[in-house]
Symmetry: C2
Subunit: 227 residues, 2 copies
């Protein structure tokens, strides 16, 4: 089961909005609603046009918020983009966990996650555009899906399936490799048929043999629940 629940707002910077308490004042509630609307609008517009081509004005209008007001929620366009991506990542992480917590092999849990993330990146229209800011994408992925992924890596290591000292390190590298692969596929530089090989190589980073990695990557995968 989920030992980690993704916190709504990570440490460091981020929009300052109180957690959802039922006894919150009207202002705070509206503020929260506007924040949600902004992220939702950001998901739409940025998913359609990409992060760079999306304009703050269009996002603000789609969220029914004044252009300048956005900056009382996010310090910059990039911060909004990060929030949007983190929102997507959190959703996906939870959908993945719904499936994998029935698995018995901890290594397979990780393998399933890797494969699913890649598939989503290249399959979901709304994700594709966002790949073109690799470092933002990988950063959000690292932060939001990290707790899940590193937990799986540690479980598999403890079970003797993987050999990893620093799960965060491995996860970070896997992250960037995933984004790179997805970028290559969506831009037509690589056929979709190679995804499995990519998963194999990412699994190799966990200190297992090529054959073990191949075995893990070719196991049948159940379908994801709808979001």
């Amino acid at each position: 089961m989920s030992g980690f629940d993704a916190p709504s707002n990570g440490p460091g910077n981020g929009p300052n909005v109180a957690p959802s308490e039922p006894s919150l004042g009207r202002v705070a509630r509206r503020r929260r609603k506007n924040l949600e609307a902004l992220i939702q609008a950001g998901r739409q517009v940025m998913g359609e046009k990409g992060i760079d081509a999306a304009t703050m004005l269009e996002i603000a209008e789609r969220a029914d918020i004044g252009a300048g007001t956005v900056y009382s929620y996010f310090k910059s366009k990039d911060e909004l983009a990060i929030a949007v991506l983190e929102s997507l990542m959190t959703d996906l992480a939870h959908r993945i966990e719904k499936v994998t917590n029935t698995f018995v092999d901890p290594a397979q849990v990780y393998a399933f996650g890797i494969r699913t993330v890649i598939d989503t990146c290249i399959g979901d229209l709304r994700w594709r555009q966002l790949l073109h800011r690799s470092e933002v994408m990988a950063g959000a992925m690292f932060r939001q899906m990290g707790p899940f992924a590193t937990r799986d890596l540690r479980n598999a290591t403890q079970a003797g399936r993987f050999r990893i000292d620093d799960a965060e390190l491995v996860w970070r590298m896997a992250n960037h490799a995933i984004v790179g692969v997805a970028l290559a596929i969506t831009s037509g530089e690589m056929p979709t048929s190679q995804v499995e090989d990519c998963v194999v190589r990412i699994l190799c980073m966990n200190g297992i043999s090529l054959d073990e990695a191949r075995d893990l990557a070719t196991r049948p995968r159940p379908a994801l629940p709808d979001s």
Copy 2:
């Protein structure tokens, strides 16, 4: 075996720009000179301020070229950035080859290259700024250093040191992992002491055991020649 522009062990091949042919017209020669000046200016300005903060005007002025003229050489700012990065990559690839073509173990050749690229990314001030456009960085790296890297991967595979079917695939993933690692280190999210572990994991992608990878990554490395 390798592609047309795959490097051979023969030294003396200059960077991507051919040596000035005397049979070329005066216009073509001046055009080539301006192109070089532009890339050089781009290396300077973008290396100082990063790709985004560098302005086309400053680059044009530093190259002693009219602001609009740049667009007769490059279709866009991004295209100029790509040329700049490719220029850096080519230089580094040749410096690496000067050292590695004395090695006997083909696997060590690759390992040295990986380590050197990471070190350059995080050590050279001019490279650091450029990391923030990961996808451009990784793309240039893939294209310019690819011929060298895939050749090394294939050599090592043929020698039975690595197990790789598609060298391009592995190189692409290594690429993005390298950029991700460098980004994490330069932004303080990861200590420099972890670089060796990163190299180990990248080597693991080549289908070797963790111990073999560790052995490769810890071999003493000769110094690079100055550019």
